[in-house]
Symmetry: C2
Subunit: 273 residues, 2 copies
Amino acid sequence: MTFIDKLRRVQRKNKSLLCIGLDTDPAKLPRHLGRSRGAVLHFNQSIIEATSDLACAYKLNLAFYEALGERGWAVIRETLAAIPRNVITIGDGKRGDIGNTAEQYAHALFDELQFDSATVNPYMGYDSVEPFIRSDKRCAFVLALTSNEGSNDFQRLIFRGRPLYEKVVQAAMKWNTKNNIGLVVGATHPTELEPIRILSPSVPILIPGIGKQGGDLESAVRFGCDADGELAIINASRSILFASSGKDFAAAARNEALRLRSQIQNYRKQFFS
Amino acid sequence: MTFIDKLRRVQRKNKSLLCIGLDTDPAKLPRHLGRSRGAVLHFNQSIIEATSDLACAYKLNLAFYEALGERGWAVIRETLAAIPRNVITIGDGKRGDIGNTAEQYAHALFDELQFDSATVNPYMGYDSVEPFIRSDKRCAFVLALTSNEGSNDFQRLIFRGRPLYEKVVQAAMKWNTKNNIGLVVGATHPTELEPIRILSPSVPILIPGIGKQGGDLESAVRFGCDADGELAIINASRSILFASSGKDFAAAARNEALRLRSQIQNYRKQFFS
Protein backbone atom coordinates (compact mmCIF):
# COMPACT_ATOMS: atom_id res chain seq x y z
CA MET A 1 0.00 0.00 0.00
CA THR A 2 1.30 3.48 -0.81
CA PHE A 3 1.92 5.96 1.97
CA ILE A 4 -0.89 8.20 0.76
CA ASP A 5 -3.38 5.32 0.74
CA LYS A 6 -2.33 4.24 4.21
CA LEU A 7 -2.72 7.80 5.48
CA ARG A 8 -6.19 8.29 3.94
CA ARG A 9 -7.30 4.90 5.27
CA VAL A 10 -6.32 5.56 8.88
CA GLN A 11 -7.68 9.11 8.79
CA ARG A 12 -11.04 7.65 7.74
CA LYS A 13 -11.00 4.68 10.10
CA ASN A 14 -10.04 6.68 13.19
CA LYS A 15 -11.97 9.78 12.02
CA SER A 16 -8.89 11.72 12.90
CA LEU A 17 -6.33 14.14 11.53
CA LEU A 18 -4.56 14.13 14.87
CA CYS A 19 -0.89 13.22 15.11
CA ILE A 20 0.54 12.64 18.55
CA GLY A 21 4.10 13.83 18.93
CA LEU A 22 6.15 11.56 21.17
CA ASP A 23 8.60 14.25 22.33
CA THR A 24 9.18 12.29 25.48
CA ASP A 25 11.38 14.38 27.73
CA PRO A 26 12.41 12.26 30.74
CA ALA A 27 12.50 15.39 32.89
CA LYS A 28 8.75 15.85 32.33
CA LEU A 29 7.58 12.29 33.05
CA PRO A 30 5.05 11.79 35.84
CA ARG A 31 7.12 11.53 38.98
CA HIS A 32 5.97 8.01 39.92
CA LEU A 33 7.53 6.63 36.72
CA GLY A 34 11.07 7.78 37.52
CA ARG A 35 13.44 9.12 34.88
CA SER A 36 15.04 5.99 33.46
CA ARG A 37 15.08 4.94 29.84
CA GLY A 38 12.70 2.13 30.74
CA ALA A 39 10.37 4.79 32.10
CA VAL A 40 10.38 6.60 28.73
CA LEU A 41 9.41 3.41 26.93
CA HIS A 42 6.73 2.53 29.46
CA PHE A 43 5.34 6.06 29.21
CA ASN A 44 5.24 5.90 25.39
CA GLN A 45 3.56 2.49 25.45
CA SER A 46 0.91 3.77 27.86
CA ILE A 47 0.25 6.88 25.77
CA ILE A 48 -0.03 4.80 22.59
CA GLU A 49 -2.34 2.26 24.21
CA ALA A 50 -4.57 5.08 25.46
CA THR A 51 -4.75 7.01 22.17
CA SER A 52 -4.10 4.83 19.13
CA ASP A 53 -7.77 4.72 18.09
CA LEU A 54 -7.85 8.53 18.11
CA ALA A 55 -4.79 9.37 16.03
CA CYS A 56 -3.83 9.06 12.38
CA ALA A 57 -0.11 9.23 13.16
CA TYR A 58 2.59 9.20 15.81
CA LYS A 59 5.59 11.43 15.33
CA LEU A 60 8.76 10.49 17.16
CA ASN A 61 11.00 13.47 17.69
CA LEU A 62 14.37 11.77 17.31
CA ALA A 63 16.26 14.37 19.37
CA PHE A 64 14.57 13.21 22.56
CA TYR A 65 15.74 9.65 21.94
CA GLU A 66 19.27 10.62 20.94
CA ALA A 67 19.47 12.55 24.19
CA LEU A 68 18.96 9.23 26.01
CA GLY A 69 22.31 8.05 24.69
CA GLU A 70 23.07 4.43 24.04
CA ARG A 71 19.59 3.05 24.78
CA GLY A 72 17.75 5.67 22.74
CA TRP A 73 17.68 3.64 19.56
CA ALA A 74 16.14 0.64 21.30
CA VAL A 75 13.50 2.89 22.87
CA ILE A 76 12.58 4.14 19.38
CA ARG A 77 12.37 0.61 18.05
CA GLU A 78 10.29 -0.67 20.96
CA THR A 79 8.03 2.40 20.83
CA LEU A 80 7.39 1.77 17.13
CA ALA A 81 6.56 -1.85 17.93
CA ALA A 82 3.74 -0.63 20.18
CA ILE A 83 2.07 1.44 17.43
CA PRO A 84 -0.71 -0.40 15.55
CA ARG A 85 0.39 -1.18 12.00
CA ASN A 86 -2.41 0.82 10.39
CA VAL A 87 -1.31 4.07 12.04
CA ILE A 88 1.29 6.24 10.29
CA THR A 89 4.70 6.68 11.90
CA ILE A 90 6.84 9.78 11.33
CA GLY A 91 10.56 9.87 12.14
CA ASP A 92 10.97 13.54 12.92
CA GLY A 93 14.70 14.14 12.57
CA LYS A 94 14.74 16.93 9.96
CA ARG A 95 17.69 15.26 8.27
CA GLY A 96 19.48 16.71 5.25
CA ASP A 97 22.93 15.99 3.84
CA ILE A 98 24.76 15.27 0.59
CA GLY A 99 23.44 12.37 -1.46
CA ASN A 100 25.60 9.50 -0.20
CA THR A 101 24.98 10.59 3.41
CA ALA A 102 21.26 11.24 3.00
CA GLU A 103 21.11 7.67 1.72
CA GLN A 104 22.47 6.44 5.06
CA TYR A 105 19.90 8.50 6.99
CA ALA A 106 17.10 7.14 4.83
CA HIS A 107 18.43 3.63 5.37
CA ALA A 108 18.50 4.16 9.15
CA LEU A 109 14.96 5.50 9.32
CA PHE A 110 13.19 3.49 6.61
CA ASP A 111 15.05 0.15 6.55
CA GLU A 112 16.50 -0.22 10.04
CA LEU A 113 13.66 1.38 12.02
CA GLN A 114 10.86 0.96 9.43
CA PHE A 115 9.32 4.41 9.84
CA ASP A 116 6.61 5.14 7.26
CA SER A 117 7.90 8.66 6.77
CA ALA A 118 10.49 11.20 7.86
CA THR A 119 10.89 14.94 8.05
CA VAL A 120 13.69 16.40 5.91
CA ASN A 121 15.37 19.79 5.73
CA PRO A 122 15.50 21.27 2.21
CA TYR A 123 18.48 23.64 2.66
CA MET A 124 20.88 21.28 0.84
CA GLY A 125 18.53 20.74 -2.11
CA TYR A 126 17.37 17.85 -4.22
CA ASP A 127 20.10 15.28 -3.63
CA SER A 128 19.55 15.56 0.13
CA VAL A 129 15.86 14.64 -0.27
CA GLU A 130 16.00 12.13 -3.11
CA PRO A 131 17.01 9.05 -1.04
CA PHE A 132 13.85 9.57 1.07
CA ILE A 133 11.46 9.47 -1.90
CA ARG A 134 12.59 6.36 -3.72
CA SER A 135 9.60 4.28 -2.67
CA ASP A 136 5.96 5.37 -2.70
CA LYS A 137 5.50 3.36 0.49
CA ARG A 138 7.54 6.05 2.26
CA CYS A 139 6.98 9.80 2.51
CA ALA A 140 9.39 12.69 3.05
CA PHE A 141 7.89 15.72 4.77
CA VAL A 142 9.92 18.69 3.53
CA LEU A 143 10.23 21.63 5.92
CA ALA A 144 8.55 24.63 4.30
CA LEU A 145 7.47 27.17 6.94
CA THR A 146 8.25 25.88 10.42
CA SER A 147 6.37 26.67 13.62
CA ASN A 148 9.18 28.37 15.54
CA GLU A 149 10.21 32.00 15.81
CA GLY A 150 13.40 31.32 13.87
CA SER A 151 11.24 30.56 10.82
CA ASN A 152 11.30 34.33 10.27
CA ASP A 153 15.09 34.46 9.92
CA PHE A 154 15.43 32.92 6.45
CA GLN A 155 12.21 31.16 5.37
CA ARG A 156 10.44 34.45 4.69
CA LEU A 157 13.23 36.13 2.73
CA ILE A 158 11.78 37.39 -0.54
CA PHE A 159 13.24 36.19 -3.84
CA ARG A 160 11.75 37.85 -6.92
CA GLY A 161 8.60 38.66 -5.05
CA ARG A 162 8.10 35.24 -3.45
CA PRO A 163 9.29 34.00 -0.05
CA LEU A 164 11.90 31.25 0.26
CA TYR A 165 9.37 28.82 1.73
CA GLU A 166 7.29 29.11 -1.44
CA LYS A 167 10.37 28.35 -3.55
CA VAL A 168 10.80 25.25 -1.37
CA VAL A 169 7.17 24.25 -1.88
CA GLN A 170 7.45 24.72 -5.64
CA ALA A 171 10.64 22.67 -5.81
CA ALA A 172 9.13 19.95 -3.63
CA MET A 173 6.12 19.72 -5.95
CA LYS A 174 8.49 19.34 -8.91
CA TRP A 175 10.32 16.52 -7.08
CA ASN A 176 7.02 14.79 -6.25
CA THR A 177 6.95 12.42 -9.20
CA LYS A 178 6.05 9.42 -7.03
CA ASN A 179 3.35 11.20 -5.05
CA ASN A 180 5.23 10.68 -1.79
CA ILE A 181 6.33 14.13 -0.74
CA GLY A 182 4.66 16.00 2.09
CA LEU A 183 5.27 19.43 3.62
CA VAL A 184 5.76 20.79 7.11
CA VAL A 185 3.93 24.05 7.80
CA GLY A 186 3.50 25.38 11.32
CA ALA A 187 0.01 26.16 12.62
CA THR A 188 1.60 29.33 13.97
CA HIS A 189 1.44 30.75 10.41
CA PRO A 190 -2.32 30.52 9.70
CA THR A 191 -2.41 33.07 6.86
CA GLU A 192 0.39 31.36 4.93
CA LEU A 193 -1.22 27.93 5.05
CA GLU A 194 -3.88 28.69 2.43
CA PRO A 195 -1.50 29.85 -0.36
CA ILE A 196 0.77 26.89 0.41
CA ARG A 197 -2.16 24.47 0.09
CA ILE A 198 -3.08 26.09 -3.22
CA LEU A 199 0.45 25.43 -4.53
CA SER A 200 0.31 21.82 -3.33
CA PRO A 201 -3.31 20.71 -3.51
CA SER A 202 -2.90 16.99 -2.94
CA VAL A 203 0.06 16.34 -0.66
CA PRO A 204 0.00 15.57 3.06
CA ILE A 205 0.80 18.62 5.18
CA LEU A 206 2.21 17.98 8.63
CA ILE A 207 1.16 20.86 10.86
CA PRO A 208 2.95 21.22 14.18
CA GLY A 209 2.54 24.10 16.57
CA ILE A 210 -0.92 23.74 18.07
CA GLY A 211 -1.10 23.31 21.83
CA LYS A 212 1.93 24.70 23.70
CA GLN A 213 3.17 26.68 20.70
CA GLY A 214 -0.17 28.50 20.35
CA GLY A 215 -0.95 27.73 16.70
CA ASP A 216 -4.38 28.23 15.16
CA LEU A 217 -6.33 24.96 14.97
CA GLU A 218 -9.24 26.31 12.93
CA SER A 219 -6.95 27.50 10.11
CA ALA A 220 -4.91 24.31 10.34
CA VAL A 221 -8.03 22.32 9.48
CA ARG A 222 -9.59 24.80 7.07
CA PHE A 223 -6.50 25.46 4.96
CA GLY A 224 -4.33 22.46 5.81
CA CYS A 225 -6.73 19.86 4.40
CA ASP A 226 -7.06 18.92 0.76
CA ALA A 227 -10.37 19.46 -1.04
CA ASP A 228 -11.84 16.36 0.63
CA GLY A 229 -11.01 17.56 4.13
CA GLU A 230 -8.14 15.08 4.42
CA LEU A 231 -4.32 14.91 4.29
CA ALA A 232 -3.71 17.49 7.00
CA ILE A 233 -1.78 15.85 9.84
CA ILE A 234 -2.17 18.05 12.87
CA ASN A 235 0.43 17.41 15.52
CA ALA A 236 0.17 17.99 19.25
CA SER A 237 2.94 16.84 21.54
CA ARG A 238 3.36 18.32 25.00
CA SER A 239 -0.31 19.25 25.50
CA ILE A 240 -1.28 15.57 25.17
CA LEU A 241 1.74 13.81 26.68
CA PHE A 242 1.90 15.94 29.78
CA ALA A 243 -1.84 16.65 30.23
CA SER A 244 -1.42 15.26 33.73
CA SER A 245 1.72 14.68 35.72
CA GLY A 246 -0.04 12.18 37.98
CA LYS A 247 -0.82 8.49 37.83
CA ASP A 248 -3.75 9.32 35.55
CA PHE A 249 -1.40 10.60 32.80
CA ALA A 250 -2.61 8.11 30.18
CA ALA A 251 -6.30 8.79 30.83
CA ALA A 252 -5.60 12.53 30.79
CA ALA A 253 -3.74 12.15 27.49
CA ARG A 254 -6.72 10.26 26.07
CA ASN A 255 -9.09 13.00 27.21
CA GLU A 256 -6.93 15.70 25.61
CA ALA A 257 -6.65 13.65 22.39
CA LEU A 258 -10.43 13.13 22.37
CA ARG A 259 -10.97 16.86 22.88
CA LEU A 260 -8.59 17.80 20.05
CA ARG A 261 -9.93 15.16 17.67
CA SER A 262 -13.46 16.34 18.28
CA GLN A 263 -12.52 20.02 17.80
CA ILE A 264 -10.86 19.03 14.52
CA GLN A 265 -13.90 16.98 13.46
CA ASN A 266 -16.16 19.97 14.15
CA TYR A 267 -14.05 22.20 11.92
CA ARG A 268 -14.02 19.50 9.23
CA LYS A 269 -17.83 19.36 9.32
CA GLN A 270 -17.97 23.14 9.14
CA PHE A 271 -15.63 23.53 6.17
CA PHE A 272 -15.90 20.25 4.25
CA SER A 273 -19.48 19.05 4.18
CA MET B 1 40.14 26.07 26.96
CA THR B 2 37.87 27.62 24.34
CA PHE B 3 37.12 25.78 21.14
CA ILE B 4 39.01 28.35 19.07
CA ASP B 5 42.12 28.04 21.26
CA LYS B 6 42.00 24.26 21.09
CA LEU B 7 41.68 24.41 17.31
CA ARG B 8 44.59 26.86 16.86
CA ARG B 9 46.75 24.82 19.22
CA VAL B 10 46.26 21.51 17.40
CA GLN B 11 46.64 23.13 13.98
CA ARG B 12 50.03 24.44 15.12
CA LYS B 13 51.15 21.31 16.92
CA ASN B 14 50.27 18.93 14.08
CA LYS B 15 51.10 21.51 11.37
CA SER B 16 47.83 20.56 9.83
CA LEU B 17 44.52 21.97 8.61
CA LEU B 18 43.43 18.48 7.63
CA CYS B 19 40.21 17.02 9.01
CA ILE B 20 39.60 13.33 8.47
CA GLY B 21 35.98 12.47 7.88
CA LEU B 22 35.01 9.16 9.43
CA ASP B 23 32.20 8.37 7.00
CA THR B 24 32.69 4.71 7.67
CA ASP B 25 30.46 2.81 5.29
CA PRO B 26 30.54 -0.90 6.25
CA ALA B 27 30.02 -1.83 2.60
CA LYS B 28 33.37 -0.20 1.75
CA LEU B 29 35.52 -1.74 4.48
CA PRO B 30 38.55 -3.79 3.43
CA ARG B 31 37.17 -7.26 2.82
CA HIS B 32 39.34 -8.99 5.42
CA LEU B 33 37.64 -6.96 8.20
CA GLY B 34 34.14 -8.20 7.45
CA ARG B 35 31.06 -5.97 7.68
CA SER B 36 30.14 -6.13 11.34
CA ARG B 37 29.74 -3.19 13.70
CA GLY B 38 32.88 -4.34 15.48
CA ALA B 39 34.65 -4.09 12.13
CA VAL B 40 33.58 -0.44 11.78
CA LEU B 41 35.02 0.37 15.20
CA HIS B 42 38.23 -1.53 14.56
CA PHE B 43 38.59 0.24 11.21
CA ASN B 44 38.06 3.67 12.80
CA GLN B 45 40.54 2.92 15.56
CA SER B 46 43.15 1.83 13.02
CA ILE B 47 42.62 4.95 10.89
CA ILE B 48 42.88 7.21 13.95
CA GLU B 49 46.00 5.48 15.22
CA ALA B 50 47.61 5.85 11.79
CA THR B 51 46.72 9.53 11.28
CA SER B 52 46.13 11.40 14.53
CA ASP B 53 49.46 13.26 14.39
CA LEU B 54 48.57 14.50 10.91
CA ALA B 55 45.08 15.88 11.47
CA CYS B 56 43.61 18.85 13.33
CA ALA B 57 40.17 17.24 13.51
CA TYR B 58 38.08 14.14 13.00
CA LYS B 59 34.56 14.55 11.69
CA LEU B 60 32.11 11.75 12.41
CA ASN B 61 29.30 11.69 9.89
CA LEU B 62 26.46 10.60 12.17
CA ALA B 63 24.38 9.13 9.36
CA PHE B 64 26.82 6.28 8.89
CA TYR B 65 26.51 5.34 12.57
CA GLU B 66 22.74 5.67 12.68
CA ALA B 67 22.62 3.32 9.72
CA LEU B 68 24.27 0.69 11.95
CA GLY B 69 21.15 0.63 14.12
CA GLU B 70 21.25 -0.18 17.80
CA ARG B 71 25.04 -0.41 18.13
CA GLY B 72 25.77 2.79 16.22
CA TRP B 73 25.81 5.01 19.29
CA ALA B 74 28.36 2.83 21.05
CA VAL B 75 30.56 2.84 17.94
CA ILE B 76 30.50 6.65 17.99
CA ARG B 77 31.37 6.73 21.67
CA GLU B 78 34.18 4.21 21.34
CA THR B 79 35.53 5.92 18.22
CA LEU B 80 35.64 9.24 20.09
CA ALA B 81 37.51 7.52 22.92
CA ALA B 82 40.27 6.61 20.46
CA ILE B 83 40.84 10.22 19.35
CA PRO B 84 43.64 12.03 21.25
CA ARG B 85 42.15 14.71 23.50
CA ASN B 86 44.03 17.55 21.81
CA VAL B 87 42.45 16.84 18.43
CA ILE B 88 39.11 18.49 17.59
CA THR B 89 36.02 16.30 17.16
CA ILE B 90 33.10 17.30 14.95
CA GLY B 91 29.68 15.64 15.21
CA ASP B 92 28.47 16.06 11.65
CA GLY B 93 24.72 15.62 11.90
CA LYS B 94 23.52 18.91 10.37
CA ARG B 95 20.84 19.12 13.05
CA GLY B 96 18.25 21.86 13.20
CA ASP B 97 14.92 22.02 15.01
CA ILE B 98 12.77 24.25 17.22
CA GLY B 99 14.42 25.50 20.41
CA ASN B 100 13.34 22.84 22.90
CA THR B 101 14.26 20.09 20.43
CA ALA B 102 17.56 21.63 19.34
CA GLU B 103 18.40 21.64 23.04
CA GLN B 104 18.01 17.86 23.12
CA TYR B 105 20.25 17.46 20.06
CA ALA B 106 22.89 19.69 21.63
CA HIS B 107 22.62 17.68 24.84
CA ALA B 108 23.07 14.40 22.93
CA LEU B 109 26.14 15.61 21.03
CA PHE B 110 27.85 17.84 23.57
CA ASP B 111 26.93 16.31 26.95
CA GLU B 112 26.26 12.65 26.20
CA LEU B 113 28.90 12.13 23.50
CA GLN B 114 31.22 15.04 24.37
CA PHE B 115 31.86 16.22 20.82
CA ASP B 116 33.80 19.51 20.67
CA SER B 117 31.58 20.80 17.89
CA ALA B 118 28.66 19.99 15.63
CA THR B 119 27.34 20.97 12.22
CA VAL B 120 23.94 22.67 12.23
CA ASN B 121 21.44 23.52 9.52
CA PRO B 122 20.33 27.18 9.53
CA TYR B 123 16.98 26.80 7.74
CA MET B 124 14.97 27.04 10.99
CA GLY B 125 16.80 30.13 12.21
CA TYR B 126 18.31 31.38 15.42
CA ASP B 127 16.48 29.30 18.01
CA SER B 128 17.57 26.12 16.21
CA VAL B 129 21.24 27.12 16.56
CA GLU B 130 21.26 28.82 19.96
CA PRO B 131 21.47 25.65 22.12
CA PHE B 132 24.69 24.73 20.28
CA ILE B 133 26.47 28.01 21.09
CA ARG B 134 25.87 28.33 24.81
CA SER B 135 29.45 27.45 25.78
CA ASP B 136 32.62 28.77 24.17
CA LYS B 137 34.12 25.31 24.67
CA ARG B 138 31.81 24.10 21.91
CA CYS B 139 31.41 25.26 18.33
CA ALA B 140 28.48 25.13 15.93
CA PHE B 141 29.43 24.96 12.26
CA VAL B 142 26.52 26.56 10.40
CA LEU B 143 25.89 25.30 6.86
CA ALA B 144 26.43 28.19 4.47
CA LEU B 145 27.26 26.91 0.97
CA THR B 146 27.44 23.14 0.94
CA SER B 147 29.58 20.99 -1.33
CA ASN B 148 26.82 19.09 -3.12
CA GLU B 149 24.95 19.78 -6.34
CA GLY B 150 21.76 20.50 -4.42
CA SER B 151 23.47 23.57 -2.94
CA ASN B 152 22.37 25.32 -6.13
CA ASP B 153 18.67 24.70 -5.46
CA PHE B 154 18.14 27.24 -2.67
CA GLN B 155 21.45 28.47 -1.22
CA ARG B 156 22.15 30.65 -4.26
CA LEU B 157 18.73 32.26 -4.54
CA ILE B 158 19.24 36.03 -4.67
CA PHE B 159 17.69 38.21 -1.98
CA ARG B 160 18.07 41.96 -2.61
CA GLY B 161 21.14 41.35 -4.68
CA ARG B 162 22.81 38.90 -2.28
CA PRO B 163 22.56 35.10 -2.23
CA LEU B 164 20.83 33.23 0.60
CA TYR B 165 24.12 31.72 1.80
CA GLU B 166 25.46 35.23 2.39
CA LYS B 167 22.39 36.09 4.44
CA VAL B 168 23.13 32.98 6.48
CA VAL B 169 26.77 34.02 6.95
CA GLN B 170 25.71 37.53 8.02
CA ALA B 171 23.18 36.16 10.50
CA ALA B 172 25.71 33.68 11.87
CA MET B 173 28.21 36.47 12.43
CA LYS B 174 25.53 38.42 14.33
CA TRP B 175 24.85 35.34 16.48
CA ASN B 176 28.57 34.87 17.16
CA THR B 177 28.72 36.78 20.43
CA LYS B 178 30.73 34.03 22.16
CA ASN B 179 33.20 33.52 19.32
CA ASN B 180 32.11 29.92 18.87
CA ILE B 181 30.36 29.82 15.53
CA GLY B 182 31.95 28.32 12.45
CA LEU B 183 30.76 27.92 8.88
CA VAL B 184 30.56 25.07 6.38
CA VAL B 185 31.57 26.01 2.84
CA GLY B 186 32.24 23.37 0.21
CA ALA B 187 35.59 23.36 -1.61
CA THR B 188 33.50 22.79 -4.72
CA HIS B 189 32.68 26.53 -4.68
CA PRO B 190 36.19 28.06 -4.86
CA THR B 191 35.11 31.50 -6.10
CA GLU B 192 32.57 31.97 -3.31
CA LEU B 193 34.98 31.13 -0.52
CA GLU B 194 36.86 34.44 -0.67
CA PRO B 195 33.84 36.74 -0.25
CA ILE B 196 32.56 34.46 2.54
CA ARG B 197 35.93 34.69 4.34
CA ILE B 198 35.79 38.49 3.99
CA LEU B 199 32.39 38.55 5.69
CA SER B 200 33.66 36.31 8.50
CA PRO B 201 37.37 37.02 8.93
CA SER B 202 38.03 35.16 12.17
CA VAL B 203 35.78 32.11 12.39
CA PRO B 204 36.68 28.50 11.65
CA ILE B 205 35.49 27.38 8.22
CA LEU B 206 34.91 23.68 7.73
CA ILE B 207 35.56 22.90 4.08
CA PRO B 208 34.36 19.53 2.79
CA GLY B 209 34.39 18.46 -0.81
CA ILE B 210 38.04 17.84 -1.67
CA GLY B 211 38.97 14.34 -2.75
CA LYS B 212 36.07 12.32 -4.19
CA GLN B 213 33.87 15.39 -4.60
CA GLY B 214 36.49 17.15 -6.73
CA GLY B 215 36.79 20.43 -4.79
CA ASP B 216 39.67 22.87 -5.22
CA LEU B 217 42.34 22.44 -2.53
CA GLU B 218 44.39 25.50 -3.47
CA SER B 219 41.43 27.86 -3.07
CA ALA B 220 40.35 26.06 0.09
CA VAL B 221 43.68 26.98 1.67
CA ARG B 222 44.11 30.40 0.08
CA PHE B 223 40.64 31.74 0.82
CA GLY B 224 39.49 29.41 3.60
CA CYS B 225 42.19 30.46 6.07
CA ASP B 226 42.11 33.52 8.27
CA ALA B 227 44.82 36.19 7.88
CA ASP B 228 47.29 34.01 9.81
CA GLY B 229 46.80 31.02 7.53
CA GLU B 230 44.76 29.18 10.16
CA LEU B 231 41.16 28.26 11.03
CA ALA B 232 40.39 26.52 7.77
CA ILE B 233 39.47 22.90 8.50
CA ILE B 234 39.80 20.98 5.27
CA ASN B 235 37.95 17.70 5.28
CA ALA B 236 38.71 14.59 3.29
CA SER B 237 36.77 11.41 3.95
CA ARG B 238 36.59 8.67 1.35
CA SER B 239 39.92 9.46 -0.32
CA ILE B 240 41.74 8.77 2.97
CA LEU B 241 39.56 6.04 4.51
CA PHE B 242 39.41 3.91 1.43
CA ALA B 243 42.84 4.70 -0.04
CA SER B 244 43.42 0.95 -0.04
CA SER B 245 40.93 -1.87 0.27
CA GLY B 246 43.63 -4.30 1.34
CA LYS B 247 45.30 -5.21 4.62
CA ASP B 248 47.47 -2.09 4.24
CA PHE B 249 44.44 0.22 4.53
CA ALA B 250 45.79 2.08 7.59
CA ALA B 251 49.21 2.67 6.07
CA ALA B 252 47.58 3.77 2.82
CA ALA B 253 45.36 6.16 4.76
CA ARG B 254 48.42 7.58 6.48
CA ASN B 255 50.16 8.08 3.14
CA GLU B 256 47.16 9.86 1.70
CA ALA B 257 46.85 12.03 4.83
CA LEU B 258 50.57 12.84 4.63
CA ARG B 259 50.19 13.75 0.99
CA LEU B 260 47.21 16.03 1.63
CA ARG B 261 48.75 17.65 4.69
CA SER B 262 51.91 18.40 2.77
CA GLN B 263 49.96 19.81 -0.21
CA ILE B 264 48.09 22.03 2.23
CA GLN B 265 51.32 23.09 3.95
CA ASN B 266 52.81 24.03 0.59
CA TYR B 267 49.84 26.26 -0.22
CA ARG B 268 50.05 27.80 3.27
CA LYS B 269 53.70 28.64 2.69
CA GLN B 270 52.84 30.09 -0.70
CA PHE B 271 50.03 32.32 0.52
CA PHE B 272 50.78 33.06 4.17
CA SER B 273 54.50 33.61 4.63
